[in-house]
Amino acid sequence: MTNTALALEIKNLTKKYGDKVAVDNISLSIPKGSFFGLLGPNGAGKSTTIHCITGIAQPTSGQILVDGTDVVTEYKKARTKVGLSPQEFNVDIFATPEQLMDYMGGYYGIPKETRWQRIDDLIKRFDLEAHRHVKFQKLSGGLKRRAMLGRALIHTPELLILDEPTAGVDVEQRHDLWAYLKEMNERGKTIILTSHYLEEIQYLCNDIAIINHGKIVAEGTKEEFMKEGKSVEQTYLEIIKAQN
């Protein structure tokens, strides 16, 4: 039975690459409207989990439901509900920000008029007007991140997954981006965020899970992670050190 109050439900997800277990029987429930931080060291299984949700990887076992839609059996419908800004720049480096959004919007079946209205809005929102016709390879790290975010949002997904969205972004732009993400979340968008900047997680997220060696090792509200006056970073380090 599906829970309609959940944006994402992961049930006993396992992902193996040969003999290596990248994700080991994890379960997660993320309510609609949540700003969810997924933390963990490099290689812990964060990106693999995201890849299983979005269709880049095939789960070995378990089930993933996005807004009640199974990402394997009803993959076409499920994919319309998810937007991804990945950690690595998985783009045609000769395409411009405008083209990236145009192509992605087209792939999602958005009609031309609506698509171009959204492209104009996103270009403006991410301050990309001066760079809309510049090839991706010529953009700075921060501009690349903003173009990737625009691409992830072109189909107005219900669930937005941001894998290290502010890596390489300068402080001022990072704060601007935070304000935008907070605003989107306040308007009801469910966001999953992975980041190595734990102050970013602390500032933005209201629910947090830590994954290590492919397993969920801690899960709770931000307040639970900040008990006894600790920061999220302090709690995170304590948990990871205890694990290792």
Partner: protein
């Protein structure tokens, strides 16, 4: 629901990519074809009697056209998909709402689109040299599209298999090019000794060239039923294979 706009976007993107590298994708094949037509039409052709009721260049032209279609289609599909794997741009397709059949149609349709643009330009050159006749335009378009689709799907398979840029050329160098030139594109199999003619009949490329030639000049050296079975059988079997490879995510979905 069928992702019509998504498919159109895949086609539009490949056509834009074709024009982004226009010298490599369009100018080069047209120049090559023009040279073939000039040599076989104006240099050698004038010294050879009409064959099958048409000038030698009209007999050879369908083969020249097929050669260009094969190259355009194969290189479009293999380079586009391999580049997407290399840059991980394939993830844009993987996370989008495409069924596996739609992925097949998108990649094949994109490559066929480029092949048709090349074919149209070469037909234009052929018209200038007086080398073109079209006795059955409908069958011509069907056979050109079918042959282009076959090589688009072979290009997809090679792009999925290849682990380096060099491997992209393996099939082209060791299989496609020899079988194309030995498939009777420049000569009639009646010129060959019996054993060579029999071997040529076992070469599927002979049926590709013959089908296009018969739709252009109305002359065929192959059993047309066998030819149709070879061509459409290959289209169907390769479509099943590529759809299966997309479904299991071979080399593209981890």
């Amino acid at each position: 629901m069928f992702n019509r706009i998504g498919l159109y976007t895949m086609l539009r993107r490949e056509v834009q990519r074709t024009f982004r590298v226009v010298i490599q994708t369009l100018v080069a094949p047209v120049i090559s074809a023009a040279l073939y037509i000039f040599i076989f039409g104006s240099v050698i052709g004038t010294r050879i009697d009409d064959f099958a009721g048409v000038p030698y260049i009209s007999f050879v032209f369908p083969g020249v056209l097929m050669l260009s279609i094969i190259n355009a289609s194969f290189s479009s599909a293999s380079s586009a998909l391999y580049f997407m794997r290399f840059t991980r741009g394939i993830e844009e397709i993987l996370i989008s709402p495409f069924s596996y059949l739609e992925m097949l149609l998108g990649f094949v349709g994109s490559a066929v689109s480029r092949a048709l643009i090349v074919a149209f330009l070469i037909l234009g050159v052929g018209v200038l040299f007086g080398a073109v006749s079209l006795v059955n335009p409908v069958m011509f378009v069907i056979y050109v599209a079918a042959v282009a689709a076959i090589f688009a799907m072979l290009g997809i398979i090679v792009a999925l298999w290849a682990e380096g840029f060099e491997q992209l050329q393996v099939l082209n160098t060791f299989v496609i090019t020899p079988l194309t030139y030995l498939g009777g594109i420049f000569y009639s199999i009646t010129f060959l000794p019996p054993l060579a003619a029999t071997l040529t009949r076992a070469n599927p490329f002979f049926y590709f060239a013959d089908a296009i030639r018969s739709s252009m000049i109305g002359y065929s050296e192959a059993n047309s039923a066998i030819g149709a079975m070879v061509i459409f059988g290959l289209v169907a079997s390769l479509a099943l294979l590529v759809t299966y490879l997309f479904r299991i995510g071979w080399k593209i979905r981890s």
